[in-house]
């Protein structure tokens, strides 16, 4: 496979996405909800609200979390522990759905869209191999998700440090455990919901293997005639 040719396919798809308002407006809204609006509201409620009832309720919820997570909670007061749990373990993992959602939407519309718009006919008659087309499409679907996730996570970290940081004497997020997740993958981060220690890594590796198997299988399933225009069944 020629990676340079796959990258040509990816680049043209990315260019089309950048020019398509129908695509990036929902992307901004989705990222804004998960990385800005939701954390800002929830963390403000915990750190600013003078009513201790809500803090007590969060403390009750924390007691139902796995022991491994409870051991890792930091803070010298119920409010600090509640804010820490929200910032590090509850809200942040939810954000992993952003790259998943964005990448899935892009990948689905990319290959099916080529066929529906009739543009796939050009690719089908081109000298590109099916694998080069497939890999190009996958790259184009992963990049926006990861860029949105990394950018959004940066904004999220800023909000957490500004709202919760004062309870811990300064900036503390991302915590040590989050760095491999950020630098690694959202597949690994899916493990952190279950267990923030070694289990996360094992879970993540399994998730990666499954994803890799799916991608390899997908590259074999994509055939040139998949890209041809609608109506071929009736000709």
């Amino acid at each position: 496979m020629r990676w340079s040719k796959a990258w040509i396919v990816a680049r043209i798809d990315l260019r089309r996405l950048v020019l398509s308002r129908d695509y990036w407006v929902p992307l901004l809204v989705l990222s804004g909800i998960f990385f800005v609006f939701m954390p800002a509201v929830l963390l403000s409620v915990v750190t600013v609200d003078r009513d201790l009832d809500i803090v007590n309720q969060i403390s009750d919820v924390l007691e139902s979390l796995p022991g491994a997570i409870q051991d890792n909670l930091v803070g010298d007061s119920p409010r600090a522990r509640g804010a820490y749990a929200l910032a590090v373990y509850l809200i942040a993992p939810i954000a992993i759905v952003v790259p998943l959602t964005i990448s899935s939407a892009v990948a689905a519309s990319s290959i099916v869209g080529e066929r529906e718009r009739g543009t796939g006919e050009f690719l089908a008659h081109s000298p590109l191999t099916e694998r080069e087309i497939y890999v190009g499409k996958i790259i184009a679907s992963l990049i926006p998700g990861y860029v949105a996730a990394l950018g959004g996570f940066g904004v999220y970290a800023l909000i957490v440090n500004l709202r919760v940081g004062p309870l811990f004497g300064g900036w503390f997020f991302p915590t040590t455990g989050w760095w491999p997740i950020i630098l690694g993958s959202y597949a690994v981060s899916s493990g952190v919901v279950v267990d923030p220690t070694m289990g996360a890594l094992v879970f993540g590796v399994v998730a990666w293997l499954l994803a890799g198997f799916g991608l390899a299988r997908g590259s074999r399933v994509l055939r040139r005639d998949t890209l041809l225009g609608v109506g071929i069944e009736t000709r």
Binding site: K5, I8, I12, R15, R16, L19, S20, R117, G118, T119, G120, E121, F122, A124, H125, S126, P127, L128, T129, R224, D225, L227, L228, G229, I232, E233, T234, R235
Partner: protein, 324 residues
């Protein structure tokens, strides 16, 4: 344009391709010499588009042998496709991108330098609009851009699937002139169309397709000589009912009403007798025209034969069942 001794550039032997229960291409045989223009002519559903897709390997054949430039699309697909240029029925352009971006995409895929973009666009008179988004292009501009993209890499074989569909007569003529020019440069061109007048002046070889098969193939004049042995005379009158007795006159083979009375006759020698008979019957004739053997008459003759053949086959089925 064509050379009888030229090697065969495209060859199909007993090629079949089905979609479900529909046989789109049915034991198709075809041989197109290098450097010639072949026009695949037929109604919608005749199998023209499927044939083009089979030639590049975009679709694989269920049975039969395909050879293009000596290559097998199923085995040498990448190499073969790099030597073919295709204009699909829909131009397959990215609307959000500019004309230049669309061409640049193709240039990168085919490994062509950027200068080739402007050369190809200029050749088809679309270079002035390269900075505009394709979504705002007219149908004619889209076709020109698709043609420019198809020749960007100087292909040996050009496959044009209804390149003038949706164009006004002026744009259509311009596109046909461009195709003639490309043919003059020695390209092997296969053009699909159901517009007979387009094929008339451009084809070295006409392939009349119907129900996925090549019903007839050859030079237009040779085909006319072979299949149109009985001339057609078109006769019209102020009162058409007075022409009815002509349909049973000696020398008349068959008669059809198609705006006027079309008589297939054994020879043009019967024409004076027909005119005299009509006038004697009180008809005031407005048109008497021996029809030249055009591709149009040939096409409709082939369609008539195909219909007759289908009808005979269907009629013979109950008889076959009864005999069992």
């Amino acid at each position: 344009m064509t050379n009888a001794m030229a090697p065969v550039a495209i060859e199909l032997e007993q090629v079949t391709r089905s979609f479900g229960e529909v046989r789109a291409v049915d034991r198709l045989d075809l041989a197109i010499p290098a450097g010639s223009v072949a026009v695949l002519l037929g109604p919608n559903g005749a199998g023209k588009t499927t044939t083009v897709r089979l030639l590049t390997g975009a679709l694989s054949a269920d049975a039969g042998r395909i050879g293009v430039l000596g290559l097998n699309p199923a085995v040498d697909g990448e190499e073969l496709r790099s030597r073919c240029g295709v204009v699909p029925p829909k131009p397959a352009l990215y609307d959000q991108l500019s004309g230049e971006e669309n061409l640049r995409f193709a240039a990168e895929i085919y490994g062509r330098p950027r200068e080739a973009i402007h050369d190809a666009a200029a050749r088809f008179g679309i270079d002035h609009a390269l900075h505009l988004k394709v979504g705002g292009y007219s149908t004619g501009m889209r076709t020109r851009l698709a043609l420019a993209r198809a020749v960007l890499h100087e292909p040996d074989v050009l496959l044009l699937d209804e390149p003038t569909a949706g164009l006004d007569p002026e744009s259509s003529r311009a596109v046909l002139d461009l195709i003639r020019e490309l043919a003059g440069r020695g390209r092997t061109i296969v053009m699909c169309t159901h517009l007979l007048h387009e094929a008339e002046g451009i084809a070295d070889q006409v392939v009349l397709m119907g129900a996925g098969r090549a019903r007839a193939a050859g030079r237009p004049d040779a085909l006319a000589g072979k299949y149109l042995t009985e001339p057609i005379v078109v006769i019209d009158a102020e009162d058409r009912s007075l022409l009815e007795p002509l349909t049973t006159r000696p020398g008349v083979v068959s008669a059809t009403w198609n705006g006027a009375l079309h008589l297939r006759v054994e020879s043009l020698a019967v024409l004076p007798d027909l005119v005299a008979h009509a006038v004697a019957g009180g008809a005031r004739l407005t048109r008497v025209e021996p029809q030249a053997a055009t591709l149009e008459t040939l096409y409709f003759e082939m369609q008539r034969r195909l219909r007759d053949e289908t009808r005979r086959r269907e009629e013979s089925r109950p008889a076959e069942r009864d005999s069992r």
